[in-house]
Each structure stands twice: as C-alpha cells, then as structure tokens.
Amino acid sequence: MDKFSLIKGIAAPMMNKSGNQLNLMMNIDTDMIIPKQFLKTIKRSGLGKNLFDEMRYDVDGNEIDTFILNKKPFRNAKILIAGKNFGCGSSREHAPWSLLDFGIKVVIAPSFADIFFNNSFKNGILPIRLDEGIINSITNEAMKGDEIEVNLIDQVIVLRDREIKFEVDRSNKDCLVKGLDDIGSTLKKISLIDDFENKASQERPWNIPR
C-alpha cells in the first residue's frame, strides 16, 4: 500500500438538486459507487472506469454531462465530498478499489458506514468525518474548482484562506502514513494467538469445528 502524507487536488462534491437548492447527497451506497455487474472480477484493479457507473453513463455507455465527475476540472478529482452515511450497504471492497482506481484518495462526509470506513483505511483512502456546516463551507470552495490540500500528518485541511482540523484515530493514521501491512503486524503477535487458541480449545472445545 502506498504511504499517505499529503494530498493536494480537486475536490468533487456529490450533490442532489431539489428546486433551486443543491444539497450534499446522503446515503450514497456501495451499489451506487460500484454496481454489482462489476463485482465479477477476480482482480482489485481496473474498476475506476465504472465508479458511479449508473450515475456517470447512460444506458448506451455515453457520459452524462451533468454528473460531476464528467465535468472539468472534477474529472481529475482526488477528493470526494458527500452527505451523511457515505458507503452504506454492502461490504464490497470494490467500492474503495474503484474510488482509488479513479484517483480518489480522500472522502469527506459527516458520517460513514462502518464497513466502508474500515475498508477505506485498508486501501490507503482517508475518510474524514466533519460537521455538516463545515463540510458545506468546504463545498462552496470546492465548487469553484480550486485545489484543496489534505495534510494527514498535521490532520488539517488547507483551504485558500483558512485551515480546518480533523480527527483520525492513531492506529488508522499510522496505518496510512507508514503504509503498513495489517497482516504482517498481526503475525508478529502470533504467539498470543497461539496461546488464546490453546486456552479457548480447552474451555470451549465445540468452538473448533468438527
């Protein structure tokens, strides 16, 4: 996994229109992010072209002009901004794989679904939780097409005229910054797992199948 320290790029807000009002889309689910017909792959790569497929292309496969990731400069976005509960639905890791393959390294939203949140860190994507009001103010700047900087080391989003702090828990931050291999770190604790297994197999032998 690539190490993550600082990302500077275009931020694309995912909006819904109601009358003249534009609002950040809530409940963007993993079926929207990467529809099921693309889950037949046995690889992790190559999913970027189908990110948000049904919102991005018409039935004939032509780009839908009004969709944000089809517009300049957002088609080169590295940051995605969305409403509440981003990534809800299925556990498919194809969702972060497709975001990453498109070039998205950061997702900013008021809240994330649990499994998507975990899956993101495992793939070098930083999900940032912020208050809705703050996100709306970032959205206003993002819509102008300015580049936004996300500095994970200092936990700060740098806008043209101000900085916004964000929280990230230590182990997740470590994992991204150092590009750690989770399995490698866990295997260093293998003797603890052996001990646990020996003890548990005495106390609850039925837990071991057959």
Partner: protein, 468 residues
Amino acid sequence: MSESKTIYDKIWESHLAYEGDDDCLLYIDRHLIHEVTSPQAFEGLRTSNRKVRSPMSALAVADHNIPTTDRSKGIGDRESEIQIQTLEDNCNEFGIEYIKTTDKRQGIVHIIGPEQGFTLPGLTIVCGDSHTSTHGAFGALAHGIGTSEVEHVLATQTLIQKKAKNFQVKINGLCQDNVTAKDLALSVIGTIGTAGGTGYVIEYTGEAVRSLSIEGRMTLCNLTIEAGARAGLIAPDEKTFEYLKDKPMSPKGEEWNRAVKYWKSLPSDEDAEYDKTIEIDAGNLTPLVTWGTSPEDVISIDGNIPNLEDIQDESKRSAVKRSLDYMNLVPGSPIKGVAIDRVFIGSCTNGRIEDLREAASILSGKKVSERVMAMVVPGSGLVKEQAEKEGLDRIFIEAGFEWREPGCSMCLAMNADKLSPKERCASTSNRNFEGRQGREGRTHLVSPKMAAAAAVAGCLADVREMVG
C-alpha cells in the same frame, strides 16, 4: 464501573487474543466464504506466500453469481463461471471445505451456516458480506467484513477491531396477525434510520423478540446492517438449542451438554447497562412497505407517500425528491394500489422455509395477476427440498410463480435475474437502493406474505384484507 455485562460484552471479552490501547485482536471462530469477495484475498495470500491458519474454521459456497435456472447446463455467464471456479480452486488449494454448486446443501451463505450447525451461540462469525449479521439470531457475534479483512482472517484467524457500543432495541408486546419479523425489522430501520446504529452492536430484547421463531430472529438480525449497526444479537434460549440440536456440525453427546450450559451463561445480565435503548411496541405495528430508495423509507401499507413540504431537513428533502423521482411515485398519494410488474420471494432475509410457508398460505387457491411475473428462489437446496416435501412448490407453481434453484438471485441481481428499467417489484429482499435489482428498477421491500398478496393483486396490497 458496573460488573454487569451485555451478551456483546461477554462474547467480546471471551475472544480477545490481544488487548491494546487503541486496537484489539478479536479471535474469529468461524469464517463463511463466497465467490465474490474472496478471490482477491486468496490472491493476496499467494502473493505474500502465506497460508490459511485454520482451514477447518472456514466453509465456502457459491451463491451471489449462480444461475437459478437448471444448472445441469452450466453457469452460462463466462465471468461468473470463472469466479465460481476460482472459489472452488482456492478452497482446494488451501484445504477449505467447499459446498459444490450441484450439492443439495448449496445455498445462500447465511442460510447454510445455521442449517449445518456451523453457526452456534457465543461464537464470533465473519463473512465478506454485510448480511452476516443474520447469525446474531443465535447469540453469535457476527458481522460483515471487506476483502482485506477476509485475507486477514484467513492468515491470522483474528481481526483488528475496536469495541462497539451497546444499543438495546426492546420490542414490547406481540405482533398482530400478518405482521411478521420483516415488519419488525423495517420498523426498527424506519425508527432509527440507516445510520442510527453506526458505531453500535444492537441487542434485540423484549416479548416480541422472544416470541419470534429462530427463523424470524434471523430476518430481524439480518436487517440490522441496514440500520448501520455492526451486528445484531439475540440472546440464545431453548428455541435456539432446539433448532441447533442434531444439526450436522453442532456439538454432540457430552460436548453438547457442556456447550448448552455455557450458552446459558451468555444472555445479558439483568442489570446490564446499554449506551442507548429504544423501545418499540409490536402491538401497534401494521404490515410495512418501503416507498423510496433507502431501507429507512418505510410506511404502513395503509399510509401515504411523503409530501416534500412536510420535510424540514433540507438534505433529507432533496434525498426524498431524488427517491420519489427515481421511484416514479406521486407525493402524498396512498402506497396501496401502486401497480407492480414483478414479485421476488427469496434472499438471506426471507428465503427460509417459514418464509415460503407464509407466502404459500396467502397464495393457496389464488392466481398471480396477469400483469405480474413472480418468482420464488429458495435460500438453499435443503429449503427447496423441504418445501417440495410439503407441497409448497405446487402451490407456488399453480398460482403462477416460477420455482427456481437456490441462490442470492434478484436480491442483488448479479446473475441473470434482474429487473428491466422502470419495472416495479415487491421484493422480500433487503435493499431498495437505486439500481439494486437492475438498472432503473424500482424495489419495494415487504414481507413474504405481503409479496404474495401483491402478486395476486397486481399492486401493493394489504395482506390483512386478502385473508379477510
């Protein structure tokens, strides 16, 4: 701090292989595997030259991609075929038990786990599928994981985890006739919202939950993920033990007795504290249906589709506007009577024998509306076999339903079973997301009885009126 513990606390503590300041290593007892979320995990093991630590703890089956028509002709779709073959090859290479597509035990991963006694109380169970929450019905801590975590469990038999908070959903009273576990679940999601459970494990308690059958409890726990919670849990009781006794992989003889004694220690202590509690009265519930494109978009079958001007929150209003446009529904109008084109009965939510019995009880002696194409997809080969033994297949077929082979089918429409654009479906599945059952398809989530009633009426209908 109180010494009292919830069932979640107990299972969590009894599975900690390592406890750090930030993260813990949670030992995983059982791992269910299917074809869609596992190939990249096995590939990762091969690339890193790692082994599967405990092949015996895993059980694999193909369900998502499999055709529900005659399988003697093969899989049909080349990509699906490769994915299913890859699962079989990986299981052979790493020594994991694989239930073949031609085996009568084949079925949806969350249906076969309990059927085989692979699912037991007090275990930690994971699968690369969000509806793993189903197994919480037995008092197991069960949740969905991504493919990186599938690989982590294969290699280490643990997961890096942070403890979630305890959320009690207490459902008091008893359901009226024709109000089912599906309605209870939809009611919970409608009440707390699709993010209402984020950061929590939900424990379902109360008279309505205790009175549910084990299969009803599976439906309730299955839909917990739609409320955003990591897992759903129901304390094991005599019903649980009765269901599991003599299942192929359940403990036997003296070990069974020891296990039951242990399982009886799992329920939450009487004075256990929860971080959050809500109460719902089952007696007031009516059959429910979703109108929108999120499982929280729930109304009573005798209710009206929401009016935009009644919604105060701006982002919610724009979400509702988008949903209503997608669903092509008139704000403020009754949901009952909305014409449908398709009916789907099946899925890990409602593809078990009791679900089929309930649907069949409505269909007996009736015909599916001419405008509707209806199908039943049993959750497993064993469910199918049992249904055929009881003659349920005849009831469905005579009513005009198609009787299919087991699999996930049109719940997620990865195989050939899908809606055409703009088609409207009454579905017993779990997600009404945009495009979920096929691009531009329109899904209304309902119980099996309500799906059967809709099939007969040709529109969303109140099952209570149909049974008189």
